[in-house]
């Protein structure tokens, strides 16, 4: 049996032998981290049964996944797909970019109901006793056709009845819309076909009282269903509500959220189905969404990758940086106490524009802790495009930030050789950065420093984390002998 990996090298072995990583791969062993070359990893793999088994299992898994994903597209299947594409591209179908399938569906229903309404009006003149369906929206009573007043107020598509002693109700002929279409559109089977969830607003010509009554009815029906649902049923209900839009959806969500015993079951059901942090947060309430995310993750243990994915879903990309910085103090994330490791993980999964946003935050930010967090995040992203800004900070007046910027420069990809060429005012920071990258130029400086054997080995190993970089900076600053390394 293959157990979950315990060997510290398992990830590195997979990266090198399965993913073809040619650069040295960092491995944390006994509290220290350094990069291991391919030869070293091969040697370890030859000696470690666990890594050998893990690699074999991973290869088998990849092969199995590939085998189950082999799709053969026949000519007929391709033609069907292209016909579907052509249909969506046709102007008369409301499926163009920016419209939703929901609108497309309602466009056809609206047209059918309008035709039905015209037919109803004509039929009303011809046959007063023609069968029509009625819905009462403020009670469960159905009103038969014979009780409909003879002089109703009517508007295209909808008939509105009101009076001082009658319940407010409305009706419409739905015979031109098939039951299957209504069942599909109205996600729960209900006799309230004419007023069931999702009736298009643009067809409604209800007065405010009738509309509110209809909404109350819908909410009551939904809550009745919600209380009796659990697990998968609740999940399906959530998906259906989420597919609706507008003010009604918001009201339904608020109503469901307010039912005490539903809330924990809802969260549990969503999490069990792998719902994202954003999705759960949207159901727990709070506006704007980023505040809901902060509240949710502050009270629920989530993983760093989930946080990163949640933040990636925030539409306003500049807001992502703010969101992560605000969450920094509220999160309880498993994985360790190292600020850099946690924060770095979150930012590593952000889109490429995040580097730019971090630099903007650095330029405009005044809070020292937030600026520190930005620099650590930039170090984790290792984005070469940030080098000019980092150099400027290294040369800047703030000593602590200069060190963090030098740390970030030390994490840039090895083909970025600006650091090797540039002379900095704080020369010892340059040496520390070069040592962090295991740049050959660093060894030239290290030879000119008064170091113990242990200190020299430490600096030559490179690949420092944030704490180790502080130590490296201190050594480079205090042990230098060559006067060209002075910072003035």
């Amino acid at each position: 049996m293959v157990n979950p990996p315990r060997c510290d090298f398992s990830d590195a072995v997979l990266a090198h032998f399965l993913d073809g990583e040619t650069n040295p791969v960092e491995v944390a062993v006994d509290g220290s981290t350094r990069a291991w070359t391919g030869e070293e990893l091969a040697r370890h793999r030859g000696e470690c049964d666990e890594c050998t088994l893990q690699l074999a299992s991973a290869r088998r898994l990849d092969a199995l996944l590939a085998a189950t994903s082999d799709i053969t597209v026949s000519e007929d299947m391709a033609d069907t797909i292209f016909e579907g594409v052509a249909a969506r591209l046709r102007p008369e179908v409301a499926g163009s970019s920016g419209s939703s399938a929901w609108h497309a569906r309602w466009a056809s229903v609206a047209a059918a109901v309008l035709c039905g309404a015209l037919g109803f009006a004509l039929a009303h003149w011809l046959d007063d006793s023609r069968d029509r369906e009625f819905v009462v929206t403020d009670a469960s009573e159905r009103v038969p056709p014979r009780d409909v007043p003879s002089q109703p107020e009517s508007r295209p598509g909808v008939l509105v009845l009101s009076g001082p002693r009658r319940p407010v109700r409305f009706e419409s002929s739905v015979r031109s819309v098939t039951p299957e279409q209504l069942e599909q559109a109205f996600w729960f089977a209900s006799w309230t076909r004419a007023t069931a969830l999702g009736w298009p607003r643009d067809l409604h010509s209800l007065d405010v009282g009738a509309r509110d009554a209809a909404d109350r009815f819908r909410l009551r029906r939904i809550l009745e269903m919600t209380e009796s649902l659990s697990g998968r049923g609740l999940q399906r209900l959530v998906e259906s509500i989420e597919s609706s839009e507008g003010e009604l959806r918001d009201r339904i969500v608020r109503a469901v959220r307010g039912v005490d015993d539903v809330r924990p079951r809802l969260v549990a059901a969503l999490r069990r189905e792998g719902a994202s942090v954003v999705r759960v947060a949207s159901w727990l309430g709070g506006a704007p969404l980023d505040r809901a995310i902060v509240d949710f993750v502050g009270n629920d243990a989530v993983r760093a990758t989930e946080v990163a994915e949640a933040v990636a879903e925030v539409q306003d990309r500049p807001g992502r940086v703010d969101l992560l910085l605000r969450m920094r103090d509220r999160l309880s994330i498993r994985g360790g106490d190292d600020d850099f490791a946690l924060f770095g993980q979150w930012f590593e999964t952000q889109p490429n524009e995040c580097s730019h946003q971090l630099l903007v935050a650095l330029r405009d930010g005044r809070d020292a802790e937030e600026r520190r967090a930005c620099l650590l995040a930039l170090a984790s992203r290792a984005d070469p495009s940030t080098a000019p800004a980092l150099f400027a900070i290294v040369e800047g007046p703030r000593q602590h930030e200069a060190e963090l910027a030098a740390f970030a420069l030390g994490k840039l990809p090895v083909d970025s050789d600006d650091l090797a060429r540039r002379e900095l005012r704080r020369g010892y920071l340059r040496v520390a950065s070069l040592a962090c990258r295991r740049d050959p130029i660093a060894s030239r400086h290290l030879r000119l420093m008064r170091l113990t054997d242990e200190e020299r080995a430490f600096l030559e190993a490179g690949r420092f984390n944030a704490h180790q970089f502080e130590i490296a900076v201190a050594l480079c600053r205090d042990r230098r002998v060559d006067p060209t390394l002075s910072d003035d």
């Binding site: 085998a67 797909i81 999964t349």
Partner: protein, 195 residues
């Protein structure tokens, strides 16, 4: 309307055939050239869509909508990534907005047809079927982005730069997604993957 590609575009990520079809598309032969251009990508698109949605009916909707978006955006496509990566990127972005493309009812639980590429013995078929079922079950536990990343790595063989381009994240993030997905699936399938 541009009818040809610049030299830098030609030397980027497109084959000569794709470049020619793109030129025909931009010259006005839109429908036929588009179909020829993307026909070879349908299989991978459908596979990725099924992996991300977990539902064959919705996967077909997603693929169709992705092709619609591709059709509309093809004039502006510069070939800085491969055509497949570009299509994958559209599909993955769309997968986050189901209200914009879901038109079908959910299908029955996904049943994957597995070709006999493993050359398995008939009496081992039951074991292999269980293996595939456990794999599908394990994949359902992943987030859509993890599933997409894992699929692009293991099935499409894309490197992390290309995966990052498709998923709109850095290569490091793409590797994290794949690593996380692989770990989760291996943990759930440990008994079935022993060598």
């Amino acid at each position: 309307m541009r009818t040809d590609l610049t030299r830098s575009e030609r030397t980027c990520r497109l084959s000569d055939v794709e470049v020619a079809l793109l030129a025909r598309f931009r010259a006005g032969e839109r429908e036929d050239s588009f179909q020829e251009l993307v026909r070879g990508q349908l299989g991978p698109l459908i596979a990725l869509a099924r992996r991300v949605t977990g539902d064959s009916a919705w996967a077909d909707d997603l693929v169709q909508e992705a092709l619609v978006r591709a059709y509309r955006g093809l004039d502006a496509f510069r070939g800085e990534s491969s055509l497949r990566t570009w299509l994958f990127r559209i599909l993955v972005r769309l997968s986050k907005e189901p209200s914009r493309w879901q038109r079908s009812e959910p299908a029955a639980p996904l049943s994957v047809e597995v070709p006999d590429v493993l050359g398995i013995d008939p009496h081992d078929e039951l074991v292999e079927r269980e293996l595939r079922d456990r794999l599908e079950e394990a994949l359902e536990r992943l987030t859509p982005r993890q599933r997409a990343a894992f699929h692009l790595r293991a099935v499409e063989g894309m490197d992390y730069r290309a995966i990052g381009a498709a998923l709109d994240c850095t290569p490091v993030a793409a590797r994290m997604l794949v690593l996380g997905a692989r770990k989760k699936v291996m943990a759930r399938m440990e008994r079935h993957l022993e060598w």
